[in-house]
Subunit: 209 residues, 6 copies
């Protein structure tokens, strides 16, 4: 049995323009748009665009929150551009905490690989959903809701969050409020916090005003 050059189809396809198909590896040098980065020319795509090794390295947790988050979003991992998914790595030393934050553009599923993590989110009706997660547990945090993770044991914890977007975004509450030049008075007015409390956290986080 012999198959000569046979599909008219393939002749047509190969004589056509580079097609928008299969994947769209991020080309960081071309313009980006609401749907993501522009696509790398197919001829320049290699398997390494689809593989990312940065999550294999523990983040540095010798900091005040004893925690580190290492993202593999479209901005770091070009292969996920346009594909509706991304990952990150979360290291929590004993006592470590990822303070209240949201992902404006994605839901998250957290997978615990090592240690114990107390995780929680708060729904729009202010109900908190809290759980102590053990190795192998997963927990979903619906898009845009405030949530946190805390090391729940005396040993280092390791977890991997997955996101429903290649660019989930991350807004950390304390940073949004205190790590900029928003006037203390305005923050007080819009959070009901005391001015002294605000100034204390601005000082700690490097905010001004």
């Amino acid at each position: 049995m012999i198959f000569p050059i046979f599909f008219t189809f393939f002749l047509l396809l190969s004589s056509s323009h580079a097609s928008v198909q299969d994947f769209c590896v991020a080309d960081y040098k071309a313009p980006d748009g609401p749907a993501g980065y522009s696509c790398k020319k197919p001829a320049k795509v290699t398997v390494d665009d689809f593989v990312y090794s940065g999550l294999g390295i523990a983040g540095n947790t010798t900091n005040i929150i004893k925690a580190a988050v290492t993202p593999a979003f479209a901005a770091q991992f070009p292969g996920v551009n346009g594909l509706g998914i991304s990952l990150a790595r979360l290291d929590l030393a004993p006592g470590g905490v990822i303070p209240f934050h949201t992902h404006p553009g994605a839901s998250e599923v957290l997978l615990v690989i090592q240690g114990t993590i107390i995780a929680g989110f708060v729904a729009s009706d202010n109900t908190p959903y809290l759980k102590t997660l053990k190795k192998g547990d997963i927990m979903v945090f619906p898009q845009g809701l405030l949530h946190f993770q805390v090391n729940g044991g005396g040993t280092p914890a390791l977890a991997f969050p997955s996101f429903s977007s290649p660019s989930p975004g991350l807004q950390i509450l304390d940073f949004a409020l205190f790590k900029n030049d928003l006037a203390t008075e305005l923050i007080a007015q819009t959070t009901f916090l005391d001015a002294a409390q605000i100034k204390k956290l601005k000082g700690a986080l490097g905010g001004t005003n």
Copy 2:
């Protein structure tokens, strides 16, 4: 010129099943799903499903924040179900404030009709975007980002936010943190706020623990 019953088309269509077309007015008694409420039977739909008068009435601002928000989301206004849009009304008495909040499911455009409003949002990189809005101004708050509105003058202010979803959601920061039974210690750990500050706001907002 005479047009007898002419389109085979219409005979077919009318002999078919109630079709999923044009609109899907919310039927609050049937199950809802990820895309919204079930659709009311076409025969039961009237023009009043597409009109809502609740935003014509000023909200009651005789409260501690001197402000009121009146929603016309899919849960109140059945005609917008499935159509990717909804509105609300915002009344701000002098000194009124809508404290920091997010809409997990929608971007917002605020339209100022009366008075002056100081509005702002904070981006993921912690940059604040602030503006004093006058009558006729509009400002967009991208999906999921923390934002606020404050009456910027000595007279009542009136504004109408539009949302890119029939169910934008609303998470008010202070309520999410303090108006529930989250343990003070856990909040302290995940917000860096002092316990005294937390207890004070829990007391004011009706939270416990």
Copy 3:
């Protein structure tokens, strides 16, 4: 309490490529695509990209329809690019009318701020949905359906339509039919209108043939 440079996360993020996150302010000079305009470089974005003042100015209604529509779509208001929402302003002098039209790409919610407006749309099954709207009323026009607005009183009316897309499009029926060079005979054949009627409207609207 002191927070040294602490999140590995942020070091990583800031050393990365400009990310597709939060918002995508329109860059009118770069290519656009099916999802909207390309994004402005983050460093060039200012609060003024998110605020638009053009709707604060009454449109000029000294014209034959005694009406004016002022859009704040992505083409005018760069901040809404990619965010699924836009607004416009509608001025109707006494006797003013926005003739039958559609928005091919969006549903609309009309908010009446002043005066009285008779609004209506026609569903696919030819049922008209009509309502006289008063100040504060809102009415939804599902995507793509023919609808109109008419000043229903003796005083000027003001309304603000919101749209479920940053680029809703607008196709005005009379303009589509008569304000171009479509042959009168072809229009007659595809609308059942009399040739004399077509020629009269072509003359009024500047059409030819």
Copy 4:
């Protein structure tokens, strides 16, 4: 080589709830929602849900427009529910015409199988795009824009439109305007047509008022 019952996977899957996967054949008796009809129970699905023979039968063109449209939308063809696509059949006798209409919920590609068809659409800027299509030609009509098809020869024409939605909708201009009880005066005001013209078409199409 022998493969015993081997995947833990499949045991788990089969012990689970009927899954939302692969397809969602319309169950016309359960509630529908913004995303389409509810899904038939998997056990009741047969190959005949995925096959439709109604387009093999010529529509009856012995009517005033000498044309017939036969739809295979989700309301007729349950297998396309939720799959983003549907078809129809278009028969045009000599002199036949499908008058100006829109599909509020889909773009259309028309495929000409027999005869000659003059087709056209009008863009938002009122530019008409017209073409005489021969056998084998395809033409795309972007979502929501006014378009028409006319038999361009002396022989019957046959074409098949495809749509980018299982429920594209169909709004025929003349029917929307004249085949209902909209007041003649209101139509005149919102279309600029003469009252006599309106009454004539109301009479022909069965409208009142």
Copy 5:
């Protein structure tokens, strides 16, 4: 009755930036992104961008599978870019076959115009759905599932598949497995096929290793 230049609206619109509306004809020379090709400048768009005549020509079936597929995807037909739909032509000589394949990015509806076609797809639970299609029949193949078409009679068959995406993609099973340099041993391990079988097909299709 005279209509002077009247809509403030149009002055605004025409003084604005080229808008993202109505359609986005593919510009093959600009970058593409996850949502498709960049848009051609409106001024360069003509009706020929919306019409494609390539499907009017029979594909060359003098090959081993006695079949030909001619695509009219966004890469060939610029007018469908961003519109969620595309078409193709399928010619099957007597004995012709389109072997098992998937479209990773779209559902398909096949329309039989001439001859008889045995078509089938296999669902995730391994159930095959098979049907012999006659002229005028349509069959839907849900997104991503393996399917095939075989000429079911002694005469040439002609069919037109429609797709729910402008870039549906096409992965032909035999080509994916055998028309490249994947090691025979690896294929054997991941398909359970015998090495001799693999080598035979690699030889026929031009694969190596």
Copy 6:
């Protein structure tokens, strides 16, 4: 400072219908639709709907492929319904293999936690993308493309795939072809495989005909 019951907003919201917001935990007893399962009544939702522990248990790999896949899709894990994401667990004993398969409804990112995995996918143009993944590596498999995973070392491997859909689907090539009653002759015709090879695999996998 005291905050009496203050937001008009909340009174309105609480007097309204159960809203479509935040999340839509699967109610397996109500109808499902194209967008997923119906939502559980908010009052019945608990934190356990958002947590799943099934991935903490190693799958049973004492089978012919020495591998096991344990899904946490919407059918098993109700909290991810409607949220665009799901996970699974993959156990590969030494010599284990997940044969060629596709996910018709999702892209996948595989995260390697233990051992070494040789993974690969084939693009539409038949190019294979292969990589040996070590602990901590992630690799993305674009939606709908054929891919496989093989234990690349002499020790057990553990990995967690994430998916861009709560119901990604899974079509295993060998099962789709051989584990059903498709006629050997038809399979031969549509795969180019020899009848003997087909019969051998049908025998091994439990297929007939």
